[in-house]
């Protein structure tokens, strides 16, 4: 069966990848259960808010250079736009790119529109985005409200595309459609594939697609060492970069959870091979990743040289870090594959991964050849005893942290680090997904761990005065189960 969905929408992850949101056990149990596809996704009797597909979609769409976004939503869905603006500015500056400003208009769905429909308003918003920002492509983002009123984005987008003469791309990221927020990434990528990505006009043998989150440009100098160029996708990419991604020599990811859908389609439709090993986090994965990239770009000999040289270069400082960090324990909280990436770094630093929480878990990948990062992690580091899958849910995460008491907590998602500080656990935030890649990434991580451990006093001070909103029986009791029937 084709990976590319023929319908305007891509299937949600719980059906496409059998994604789950709860598990408690060890890494091997999760791996075995996933291989058999027998883990279910029950609802919760008690839940705390998490993320939605729309929020994930905007981390991509807001940051496409030359494009504008119309959020077809009540005004509240757009409240985060100022944060994205600050992010776009900061990252453009860090990457030496022209300042990126988020060009967004909210169609401001109000009660009247929920009854009579809002298609005309959407057309007006698209025209206004065209007039104000002069974009060369417009994304129309769906919302819960547009989904419930059954707005036909498809026809408005086609109509407007004809009128404006450039791509108008519907993104079906209604928040209630999937329990797995990463479905929002798939929705953006599906839109790009349908409306923007062109058939290759040739092959650029030295160009590597890297699907990424908004972050620093660590990959660019890193692959430059092999004489390769990086096509950093999607945040801060130009429309031209997006259109021609089909011409790259191969596709790699910062995190398998982000982009297996589009990477699978690029291989299937346009013959762009996908790198089939985990991303370059930790020394052994970095070696393997470079070799795999080299295989697609004819740089095998250079890669072997580079690996040898890099390993030698970091030997001394790494030894020092190991001496300082040996025996420390860390707990990792992050999105599915990215948690595996982070966890694979610590063995190199002599730090024990005392536990791992992934915010969801895909039991399948989009194509059978894509790497099973959990299996790879077990092969690399052995079984990890305390593994949970949990979509944020601080009421559960806090109990685990209280039980395991790691020396350090590392978190990839915003607004969860507060759990660590309120419990007196020094906490590290992995906000820039690129920060810890490659050989230098291991060293940087070691240095950052040392700095973070020095915040012990801050964490203890905050914990000494913070009050947790949970009843004592909940904090004291054995982990009570608050999940409902299988769905």
């Amino acid at each position: 069966m084709s990976i590319l969905s023929e319908s305007p929408e891509v299937e949600v992850r719980e059906r496409r990848l059998l994604s789950i949101l709860s598990y408690e056990g060890d890494a091997e149990g999760l791996s075995a259960g996933s291989k058999a596809g027998r883990l279910g996704c029950p609802g919760r009797l008690y839940s705390q808010c998490s993320d939605c597909a729309e929020g994930c979609a905007e981390t991509m769409t807001y940051h496409v250079r030359g494009a504008a976004v119309v959020s077809h939503a009540p005004v509240g869905c757009g409240v985060n736009v100022s944060n994205h603006n600050i992010l776009g500015r900061a990252v453009s500056e860090a990457r030496g790119l022209p300042t990126h400003k988020v060009n967004m208009i909210s169609s401001n769905i109000v009660e009247h529109d929920t009854i009579y429909g809002a298609a005309e308003k959407l057309r007006r918003a698209v025209r206004e985005a065209d007039r104000r920002f002069g974009p060369r492509a417009i994304f129309i983002q769906a919302s819960c409200a547009s989904g419930i009123i059954g707005e036909n984005l498809e026809s408005v987008a086609s109509e407007m595309e004809e009128e404006l003469g450039y791509p108008v791309i519907p993104v079906y990221c209604e928040g209630f459609k999937s329990k797995i927020w990463s479905t929002g990434f798939d929705a953006v990528f599906h839109g790009l594939l349908r409306k923007l990505v062109q058939a290759p006009g040739g092959r650029e043998k030295d160009l590597v697609n890297i699907f990424n989150f908004e972050g620093s440009d660590q990959f660019i100098p890193f692959l430059h060492k092999l004489g390769l160029r990086v096509n950093y996708l999607v945040p801060l990419a130009s429309l031209e970069q997006l259109k021609t991604m089909s011409q790259a020599a191969c596709t790699a990811h910062i995190c398998e959870t982000l982009a297996t859908y589009i990477a699978g389609v690029l291989e299937e439709r346009f013959g762009v091979p996908e790198v089939k090993v985990p991303p370059p986090f930790g020394l052994n994965w970095t070696d393997a990743w470079l070799r795999e990239i080299a295989r697609y770009t004819g740089k095998e000999a250079e890669a072997e040289e580079l690996i040898k040289a890099e390993r030698r270069r970091i030997e001394e400082p790494l030894k020092k870090l190991r001496e300082q960090l040996r025996g420390r324990t860390i707990y990792v909280v992050s999105g599915d594959s990215f948690a595996h990436n982070l966890a694979n770094i610590y063995k190199d630093l002599g730090i024990e991964v005392i536990g791992l929480n992934t915010l969801h878990h895909d039991q399948r990948t989009d194509s059978p050849g894509q790497p099973d990062t959990l299996g790879e992690l077990i092969r690399s580091c052995g079984n990890i005893k305390n593994v949970t899958v949990c979509n944020k849910q601080p009421h559960q995460a806090i109990k685990i942290l209280l039980r395991l008491r790691p020396d350090l907590l590392i978190v990839r998602h915003m607004n969860l680090t507060t759990m660590g500080l309120k419990l007196g656990i020094p906490t590290l935030f992995e906000g820039d997904a690129n920060f810890s890649i490659g050989y230098d990434g291991v060293l940087k991580m070691g240095q950052r761990v040392i700095e973070a451990l020095a915040t012990k006093k801050l964490a203890e001070t905050i914990a000494g005065h913070a009050r947790l909103p949970y009843r004592q029986w909940w904090l004291d009791g054995e982990n009570p189960r608050y999940t409902g029937e299988e769905q």
Binding site: C49, G76, V81, I105, I109, F176, K179
Partner: protein
């Protein structure tokens, strides 16, 4: 009012209600919403309000029914009842309030009837399509006043409730309330600001014993003021947020007049305040001219700050505010009320006032009101200029190569704890921040 908006300067009604609950110690919200609403609204309001934080039970800790497609088809009230019950088992709160999102309102869930089964649990419908976060604050506060505040037989003389500053939108609400409380105490009034420093649910419960409700806003808080009046027989008075000495004096005279206080007494009370205030402010007279501290002003702010800040810079700093853009969606009546705030300005300092919330529209209004340089024989430039606005005006200030101070939502580039711009101490702080922003070479 219902038009499209380029980069909104507020969240939804749900966000406003969450902002208020976050300001109340040990209040626990229960969202009946898809999973993303609570977090998305929080993350916007947090940074926009000067890094407000999730507090006791906000941010990712906020209980939420996380409804999905199944509930969209079959209804979500059963899931909500389950979530209310489990929240009360697990979460340790003194107040539980159910709030709703767009989606559950559109599928027809009735959160009030679901909440009614649980004694003491309140409910406030807060879909975004009903209004923005300023409105959500008002809806939430109205619910507390109608359904939570117990009726009181007698009133305590000279006690005043203070409302109209919106937590989560106004980054300075808490510092401002502290100053308002202090000012009212100067003339012998005891203020209950409901969500100020050291105040708790107990203060909210006791609010029915006040004699008067002071609404500090021309636009926000009207439902709540009316609820105090209807439910608890407390009349209300509009006395807009004062910034600086001149406005503070007027504010205290207005409130004093209501209580029939002697003008002389008020003036006496202000005597020491004047000494403190002008002892600081007059320092600037040594530098004002030497360092050329006069500025043209462009003010872009919400309905509480726009008139107050414009008047402050014009009347107390001698600046020339040429354009003020009020960024709320307003009714005709609200607009007329704000218009009247600008009518009292001397002609030489009276700004052009526009009403527009669109982030990219400010530049257009500026072009409309100030002639462009077209190589005329003589061109009077709008310079030196300061832009006083929100984070969205940063780009504009850079384009215009002028000074800039963000103070109206969103203020992502500042961290605000107990800072205040209200009243006398607030006026001095604002003057410090403004002069600080224009010191050459800074």
């Amino acid at each position: 009012m219902a038009g499209i908006i380029d980069r909104p300067r507020f969240g939804c009604a749900l966000g406003g209600a969450l902002g208020l609950l976050r300001a109340i110690p040990r209040a626990v919200p229960i969202l009946h919403a898809p999973a993303g609403c609570g977090y998305s609204v929080y993350i916007g309001l947090n940074a926009g309000a000067g890094y407000y934080g999730g507090g006791y039970c906000g941010s990712t800790s906020a209980p939420s029914s996380n409804v999905v497609e199944k509930e969209a088809v079959f209804g979500g009230e059963e899931r909500l009842r389950e979530q209310i019950a489990s929240t009360m088992e697990i979460m340790d709160g003194d107040l539980y309030v159910v709030l709703s999102s767009c989606m559950v309102e559109m599928i027809g869930d009735d959160i009030r009837s679901a909440a009614r089964i649980f004694p003491g649990v309140l409910a406030t419908p807060t879909p975004s399509f009903h209004g923005n976060s300023y409105h959500g604050y008002d809806l939430m506060l109205e619910t507390l006043i109608r359904d939570y505040v117990p009726e009181q037989a007698g009133k305590k003389p000279r006690s005043v409730n203070v409302i109209g500053l919106v937590p989560g939108q106004d980054a300075f609400y808490k510092g401002n309330l502290r100053e308002i409380k202090r000012l009212l105490a100067l003339i012998g009034l005891k203020a209950n600001t409901l969500i100020g420093e050291g105040e708790s649910l107990e203060d909210i419960r006791r609010s029915a014993e006040s004699e008067l409700t002071l609404n500090l806003s021309d636009v926000y808080g009207s439902l709540s003021a009316e609820a105090f009046k209807e439910k608890h027989g407390i009349p209300w008075l509009r006395a807009p947020l004062p910034v600086g000495y001149l406005q503070t004096e007027k504010f205290l005279l207005t409130v004093g007049e209501y209580f029939g206080l002697d003008r002389e007494m008020i003036d006496q009370a202000l005597q020491r305040e004047r000494e403190v205030y002008f002892d600081y402010l007059e320092r600037i007279s040594d530098s004002y001219n030497d360092l050329d501290f006069q500025r043209y002003g462009l003010v872009v702010a919400d309905a509480n700050y726009a008139p107050a800040v414009t008047a402050f810079v014009a009347e107390e700093l001698g600046w020339l505010p040429r354009l003020t853009v009020v960024t709320d969606p307003l009714t005709g009546e609200q607009r007329a009320r704000l218009d009247s705030r600008f009518e009292t300005f001397e002609p030489s300092i009276k700004p052009e006032v526009r009403y527009d919330g669109n982030a990219s529209a400010v530049r257009r209004h500026l072009a409309d009101t100030w002639e462009r340089n077209r190589n005329q024989k003589y061109y009077e430039a709008l310079s030196p200029l300061i832009v006083i606005g929100s984070y969205f005006e940063k780009d504009l200030a850079e384009q215009l190569k002028c000074s800039y101070l963000p103070l109206s939502f969103p203020v992502n580039s500042r961290v605000i704890f107990n800072r205040a711009y209200a009243g006398l101490s607030g006026g001095l702080t604002l003057a410090e921040d403004l002069f600080g922003a224009i010191i050459p070479g800074r």
